[in-house]
C-alpha cells in the first residue's frame, strides 16, 4: 500500500483538480454605459484556452440608432497589465486564445456612442485542451484514464454550451432586426401613399395657381 498508494493518491488528487468545472460566467446580459467598463476573469494555469464572446443587442431601437449602428470596443489585458488583444467597433465577436500566463485577466468594453448598449457576454476558460500527453497520469489501469476522459468530455460539453450561448445571442439579434422590419412595413406603406397623394395635390394646386395668375394678368375674367 505504502509508497505506491501515496503516489496513486497524488495522481488522483491531480486528476480531481482538473475535474473542476472551469466554466466562467454563465452567459450574462450586461448594460454598458458610455465609457469604459471592465470585468475580470481568473486563469489558474498557464496555457489554458481562454474563450470570450459578446453580441451587441439593441432593443426596439428608434430609427436613428440603426442608422449609425456602431459596435463597441473590447480590450483584453493580461495579469501584468499588458495588452493582449484589441478589437474595435465590433457588434459580435467570439474569440479564443491561449493564456500566456496565469493570473487575473481584464476584459474592458469601451462604448463610444452616447447611448447605453446592451450586450450578451460570455467567458469560458478551459484547461484540458492544452494538456500535454506527458502530464496525463496513466498510472492506474482502470480508473484514472476513465476519469480523465470524463473530464475531457465535460470540457467539450462546456465548449458546446459556450458556442450555443453565442448562437442564441446572435439569433436574438436577428429576431430583433426582423421584428423591426416587419412592424415598420405597414406604417411605411401608409406614409408612402399619403406622401404620394399629398405631393400630387400640391402639384395640382401649384399649377392651378400659376395658370390663374397668368390668366388673370392677360384676361380680366376668373
Amino acid at each position: 500500500m505504502g509508497l505506491w498508494g501515496l503516489r496513486h493518491a497524488v495522481a488522483m488528487a491531480a486528476l480531481c483538480l482538473v475535474l473542476l468545472r472551469s466554466r466562467g460566467t454563465e452567459g450574462l446580459r450586461l448594460w454598458i454605459e458610455e465609457g469604459e467598463e471592465c470585468f475580470s476573469q481568473g486563469v489558474k494555469y498557464e496555457g489554458d484556452s481562454f474563450h470570450v464572446s459578446f453580441v451587441v443587442i439593441k432593443d426596439n431601437s428608434p430609427w436613428h440608432h440603426s442608422a449609425n449602428a456602431d459596435g463597441i470596443d473590447l480590450v483584453i489585458k493580461g495579469p501584468s497589465g499588458e495588452q493582449i488583444l484589441d478589437f474595435r467597433d465590433r457588434k459580435s465577436l467570439t474569440i479564443s486564445f491561449m493564456a500566456p500566463s496565469k493570473g487575473i485577466y481584464h476584459l474592458c468594453f469601451i462604448n463610444k456612442s452616447p447611448y447605453h448598449e446592451s450586450i450578451y457576454f460570455d467567458v469560458h476558460v478551459g484547461h484540458l485542451k492544452s494538456l500535454k500527453p506527458s502530464e496525463q497520469h496513466l498510472q492506474d489501469a482502470h480508473v484514472t484514464p476513465l476519469m480523465e476522459q470524463i473530464a475531457k468530455l465535460e470540457e467539450a460539453l462546456d465548449n458546446i454550451v459556450f458556442e450555443q450561448h453565442w448562437l442564441k445571442a446572435e439569433t436574438h439579434r436577428q429576431a430583433i432586426v426582423n421584428d423591426g422590419m416587419s412592424r415598420r412595413a405597414i406604417p411605411k406603406a401608409v406614409i408612402e401613399s399619403v406622401a404620394l397623394v399629398g405631393a400630387s395635390v400640391l402639384q395640382v394646386y401649384l399649377l392651378q395657381r400659376l395658370f390663374n395668375r397668368k390668366l388673370g394678368a392677360s384676361v380680366l375674367k376668373v
Partner: protein, 211 residues
C-alpha cells in the same frame, strides 16, 4: 475504498470552493445591472461579495452595496441594503430576463469597489453535494450524472433555438409577401393619382378655354 473516498472529498472540496464568477468595479453612486435569461421553473442561485482591497485589514465600512433582483415583469425577488456580501436563490416562476442591479452608495471622496458576483442557473445551480450525500454515490457516477444533465440542457436549448428559428422564418416569409403587396399597392396609388391629376388639369384647362 479509501482512495475513492479521498478523491470524493477532494472533489467536493474543490467544487464547493471554486468561485468562477464575474468581477466588476463599482464606483460610489454608480449603478450596474446584470441580466440573465432564465427559463420558467428552473432553479437559480446567486452569490455576491465585495472584494476586500487590503487583505491585512478588515473591510472598510464604505465598501457596501445595495442589491436588488427583479424579474422582467417587475417582481422583486431579493433586496439587500448596504451589505458586504450575500446570496439569493429562487425558482423562477416565469421565463424571461431577470436583472440584478448593484448600487454603490454615495461617498465623498469617491471609492471604487470590486464586486465579485456568481450567478448560476439551471444545471449549474444544482447542488451536487446534496445529490452525492443521498446515497453511496461513486465519484464517476456523480460526474456522469453531471454530464448527462448538461447534455440534456444543451438539447433543450437546441429545441428552443429551433423554435425561434421557425418563428423567424415564418415572420420573414410574411414580411416578404407583405412588402410585395405594398409595393403593388403603392404603384397602384401612384398611377391612379397621376390619372386623377391629368383628368383634373384637363378639365381645368378646358374650363379656362386654353384647350
Amino acid at each position: 475504498m479509501v482512495r475513492f473516498n479521498l478523491c470524493f472529498l477532494l472533489i467536493l472540496g474543490f467544487l464547493l470552493s471554486t468561485s468562477e464568477s464575474v468581477r466588476f468595479d463599482l464606483e460610489s453612486g454608480q449603478t450596474k445591472c446584470i441580466a440573465e435569461d432564465i427559463k420558467s421553473n428552473s432553479m437559480t442561485v446567486g452569490k455576491y461579495s465585495v472584494v476586500n482591497p487590503d487583505e491585512a485589514h478588515p473591510m472598510p465600512d464604505t465598501h457596501k452595496v445595495t442589491v436588488r433582483v427583479t424579474s422582467a415583469y417587475g417582481n422583486n425577488y431579493h433586496y439587500a441594503e448596504l451589505v458586504g456580501s450575500g446570496q439569493f436563490a429562487f425558482t423562477a416562476p416565469e421565463a424571461g430576463d431577470y436583472m440584478a442591479c448593484f448600487w454603490g452608495p454615495d461617498h465623498n471622496p469617491k471609492v471604487t469597489m470590486t464586486v465579485d458576483f456568481d450567478w448560476r442557473t439551471g444545471v449549474a445551480a444544482k447542488d451536487w453535494s446534496n445529490v452525492a450525500k443521498k446515497g453511496q454515490v461513486d465519484v464517476m457516477e456523480l460526474e456522469l450524472k453531471k454530464l448527462y444533465d448538461a447534455a440534456i440542457s444543451i438539447q433543450e436549448e437546441m429545441y428552443y433555438l429551433r423554435e425561434r428559428e421557425d418563428e423567424m422564418q415564418e415572420l420573414n416569409r410574411t414580411t416578404n409577401s407583405r412588402m410585395g403587396w405594398f409595393s403593388i399597392l403603392s404603384l397602384f396609388v401612384c398611377l391612379s393619382v397621376a390619372g386623377l391629376q391629368l383628368w383634373h388639369l384637363k378639365t381645368f384647362f378646358e374650363k379656362k378655354k386654353l384647350i
